[in-house]
């Protein structure tokens, strides 16, 4: 099966081929979970729920997949939508903010220094807006091109590029600030 492309598996699955469907799930579950867990930082159970929800609705979605874009791009879009939907609940957002705060303080106290650099990662992420954060995940972690990320987020490619530029600018500022407070 390995030689089959995602797209052809998707078409087979849409036509009712259960093996093809299973193969797609195997191939992509980790991706689905990863993106969910990034967006729903620290809410791992919720991320697992979201991943499962995506898997469950994949069948319906599949029949509407027409191969105009990459299967993975199409899949990311479903995952991002579903995860952001979960994020919509105010309580979830609050918990996630809390998770960032706790993670950051954890790193600070563990190492006895606010200059800890992995704390910095979470600090950086927590200070980015949701928009920038989602763009960062897709581009940096998932390795999508700006055009693909734009397709997932339904924004123009230029906007993705601008956002990445903005992220860089903000990170740089953060670094400078850290320098100054040292």
């Amino acid at each position: 099966m390995d030689d089959k492309s995602d797209n052809s598996l998707a078409f087979q699955a849409a036509a009712g081929d259960s093996e093809a469907f299973a193969e797609l799930l195997e191939r992509h579950y980790d991706r689905i979970y990863r993106v969910s867990a990034r967006i729903l930082f620290g809410e791992n159970e919720l991320a697992a729920d979201v991943a499962q929800e995506v898997c469950l609705k994949l069948h319906d979605k599949m029949s509407k997949f027409r191969g105009d874009s990459q299967f993975t791009t199409w899949l990311y879009r479903i995952v991002v939508n579903t995860a952001y939907d979960a994020l919509r609940a105010k309580s979830v957002r609050e918990r996630i903010e809390q998770n960032y705060a706790e993670t950051i303080s954890l790193h600070v106290t563990e190492h006895g220094s606010e200059t800890d650099d992995s704390g910095w990662l979470y600090m950086a992420l927590s200070q980015l807006s949701d928009k920038l954060r989602s763009t960062v995940f897709l581009v940096l972690e998932e390795g999508l091109t700006h055009a693909e990320a734009g397709e997932v987020l339904q924004i123009p490619e230029k906007t993705v590029s601008w956002r990445m530029h903005e992220v860089r600018r903000q990170l740089r500022e953060m670094a400078v600030r850290r320098e100054e407070t040292r």
């Binding site: 849409a14 009712g16 259960s18 469907f21 299973a22 799930l25 579950y29 980790d30 979970y33 867990a37 990034r38 791992n44 697992a48 729920d49 499962q52 929800e53 898997c55 469950l56 609705k57 994949l58 069948h59 319906d60 029949s63 509407k64 105009d68 874009s69 879009r77 479903i78 939508n81 579903t82 952001y84 939907d85 919509r88 609940a89 105010k90 309580s91 979830v92 790193h107 190492h111 650099d117 992995s118 990662l121 992420l125 807006s129 928009k131 989602s134 960062v136 940096l140 972690e141 091109t145 700006h146 339904q154 924004i155 990445m164 992220v167 860089r168 990170l171 670094a175 850290r178 320098e179």
Partner: protein, 689 residues
């Protein structure tokens, strides 16, 4: 400065927790790898980004194997059960699945019960049919336990499910069917993703997706069957969105709900023998002069409320944290005050709040003790998370303890739909509501707020409870739903109301039902009393509009053939009949249905639209608006400006100003354009920013 960043980068790599050395090495080399690839695309200076990227590599979230396996096997089961069509194995699904699982549960059994005929379409004259009839006056709604209030909506969900199953079956038919937008391949991104956009709620709001009804050839599908829908939630939602300059997603537009939002002054039945009267008229189609519209208007009898038995109402109020917004709990409290002032003094009201823990705020109290009820309402405050299930059980048990055996027993759920916490058994909940319906306690749902409103769930719940769902965005809407229409909102005069139209191919070549996509029924369902359909409340008006292409217009695709009138008592002179209209309904306490029918003949045709009642023309304007918002596939050049002109001519006396408001909304839609593409993920993510 560059040194600092470099140092930061090194430190970041070195101190990343939980990553073993080989993993780290691998990550770093992958990053370098990626770097070189990405460099070609991006500008070279991304130190900071690379830092982040490499940090990501070391912290990739991964699901535990058990979670992974569970998800995959659940999805495979789901897949198999769908493709093999054995829908009733309600396997025990993990409770964390929440809504989406719930919804797919429901969908499957429904698919089995009936497969929706891809219904109608056509294009042409407006037939306006107004039906009015009297009903069993008082007896109607006083009577049985299970009938009382359900007027509006009970049909809606089953049919909605039907439409959903329809979609699944025809899923290869492109979604572009219902758009006037260009073909999908020209918009690869959109077409491929459509489905997600729609049912993943771009604004966080969930709508069931559906395709507009298409044109049907009379010779192929002479019979069109659907359930009435007296819901109006879609209009209120549309209004709320347009007022913010946003055109809602297509799936949020249910054209029949827009049309039925307005109060049409069709004549009611003259005697109480029939629960409603029916009026039909045919007029030239405003957007396609060679076509006609067949307009069917139904007006329910309105019994005198003072003769009714006391009503037993339990307000079930969501006081979770998410309700703490001006357009939610405070509006809800004001809305209930409106309702209160429209109840009779011996009606009783109880209040149950649900949030972190459910509680009875007010035991059933006669409306005569108004002060006490108001105090309880005003003491509600939002806080805690939502556990809707428990609250619903409590509300039902309260309603049952104070059951009015010959009166109305109803739980009225008010929520923003944020059931995310604690709803571990949503399928069980639906079953629970259905069960209670047969014991005589019905459920109505009032939706509040926009950001989180779960339209689909609300509709499901109301449907299960034989009730209606309304969306309340302003106090004036509360007044409309709860005061002006209190009788129709709470008291049904007929239930399971189904409409079936058989067209005569001699006169009609094509037809298309406007709206009601989520209400379509199979032809055979019409006579099947087991198939649920919509309720009509006292005094309610319901409108359905078909567009017809006359056979002689030369625009039809298939030559006329003999009239296939094999299932109705048609008159002999078919050559003057466009169609034969049949309506089935059950009295609120009846188990079997009653049939009323009438031919639609050339006598119903009004060449000059201005001889047609204002109501008929106004409803055509609203229907045009809904179609344009859904993509305007069949409305051609007819635009918002034309809608305004048509609506203005037909505005009538517009006592409450709703029609003027409609015209303002059309103007807002003009400004709010373009509706395509709908708001992106982005928008719904970040409306809080």
């Amino acid at each position: 400065m560059n040194d600092d960043l470099a140092r930061l980068k090194d430190a970041l790599r070195a101190t990343m927790p939980q990553a073993s050395a080989p993993v780290r090495e691998q990550a770093i080399s992958a990053v370098l790898d990626h770097c070189s690839r990405q460099r070609q695309i991006e500008s070279p200076s991304d130190d900071e980004l690379e830092m982040l990227k490499s940090a990501f590599r070391n912290t990739v979230p991964q699901a535990p194997t058990s979670v992974r396996n569970k998800a995959i096997s659940a999805a495979r089961e789901e897949f198999d059960s769908r493709t093999k069509g054995n829908g009733d194995d309600r396997r025990l699904m993990d409770k964390t699945l929440k809504f989406s699982a719930l919804i797919s549960f429901i969908r499957r059994p429904v698919m089995q019960i009936s497969r929706p005929s891809l219904a109608l379409v056509g294009s042409t004259v407006l037939l306006a049919v107004g039906i009015v009839s009297y009903q069993i006056v008082v007896t109607t709604y006083l009577p049985m336990q299970s009938t009382q209030y359900s007027e509006i909506d009970s049909t809606q969900s089953p049919n909605a499910f039907l439409s959903e199953s329809l979609q699944i079956e025809s899923s290869f038919m492109s979604r572009s069917l219902d758009k006037n937008r260009p073909e999908p391949e020209m918009y690869p991104m959109e077409s491929a993703m459509d489905s997600d956009i729609h049912d993943s709620y771009q604004t966080g709001v969930r709508f069931r997706e559906f395709n507009s009804n298409s044109v049907k050839l009379v010779t192929e599908e002479p019979v069109s069957t659907f359930s009435i829908d007296v819901d109006t939630a879609s209009y209120a939602y549309l209004r709320a969105m347009l007022q913010q300059g946003i055109v809602p997603p297509k799936d949020a537009i249910r054209t029949e709900e827009l049309v039925n939002y307005f109060d049409y002054d069709y004549a009611p039945p003259e005697t109480a023998d029939q629960p409603f009267a029916t009026h039909v008229s045919l007029i030239p189609s405003p957007w396609n002069p060679t076509n006609m519209l067949m307009h069917i208007g139904i007006k329910a009898f309105e019994p005198d409320r003072s003769e009714a038995s006391p009503a037993n109402l339990v307000f079930l109020i969501d006081t979770s944290g998410s309700m703490d917004q001006p357009n939610k709990l405070p509006l809800l409290i004001r809305s209930f005050k409106v309702l209160l002032s429209n109840l009779a003094s011996d009606d009783t009201v109880a209040i149950v709040a649900y949030a972190g823990s459910a509680g009875v705020v007010l035991e059933p109290t006669p409306v005569s003790q108004r002060r006490k009820i108001l105090d309880s309402l005003e003491n509600l405050y939002a806080g805690g998370s939502t556990a809707g299930g428990e609250g619903i059980r409590l509300a039902y048990s309260l309603a049952e303890r104070h059951m009015q055996s010959d009166g109305v027993n109803r739980v009225i759920l008010a929520t923003d739909g944020d059931f995310n916490v604690g709803m571990t058994d949503t399928d069980e909940l639906e079953e629970f509501i259905s069960r209670k319906r047969s014991s005589g306690v019905f459920l109505s749902v009032l939706g509040f707020g926009q950001d989180n409103y779960n339209d689909e769930l609300m509709q499901h719940l109301a449907q299960s409870g034989n009730g209606n769902a309304a969306y309340i965005d302003t106090i004036s809407e509360a007044r409309k739903v709860l005061a002006e229409q209190v009788a129709s909102t709470l008291f049904a005069v007929a239930k399971d109301v189904k409409i079936q139209v058989e067209f005569n191919p001699e006169l009609v070549s094509e037809y298309r039902l406007i709206g009601y996509e989520t209400r379509m029924l199979e032809r055979e369902d019409f006579r099947n009393d087991k198939v649920d359909a919509g309720e009509i409340g006292a005094g309610h008006a319901v409108t359905a509009i078909y567009e017809l292409t006359p056979a002689e217009s030369g625009t039809g695709l298939i030559p006329p053939s003999r009239y296939q009138g094999n299932e109705s008592n048609l008159n002999s002179d078919f050559d003057s009949e466009f169609a034969f209209l049949k309506i089935r309904y059950k009295l609120p306490d009846a188990q079997s249905s009653t049939l009323v029918s009438q031919p639609v003949t050339v006598d119903h045709y009004h060449e000059k639209a201005d001889l047609v009642p204002h109501d008929v023309r106004f409803s055509a304007a609203v229907a045009a608006f809904g179609q344009i918002l859904r993509g305007g596939r069949y409305t051609g050049e007819f635009g918002y400006e034309d809608v305004i002109v048509l609506a203005k001519e037909a505005i009538g006396d517009d006592q409450f100003g709703y029609r003027n408001e409609f015209i303002r909304l059309v103007r807002m839609a003009q400004v709010a354009e373009p509706p395509v593409p709908p708001q992106t993920v982005e928008q719904r993510l970040y409306d809080s920013e």
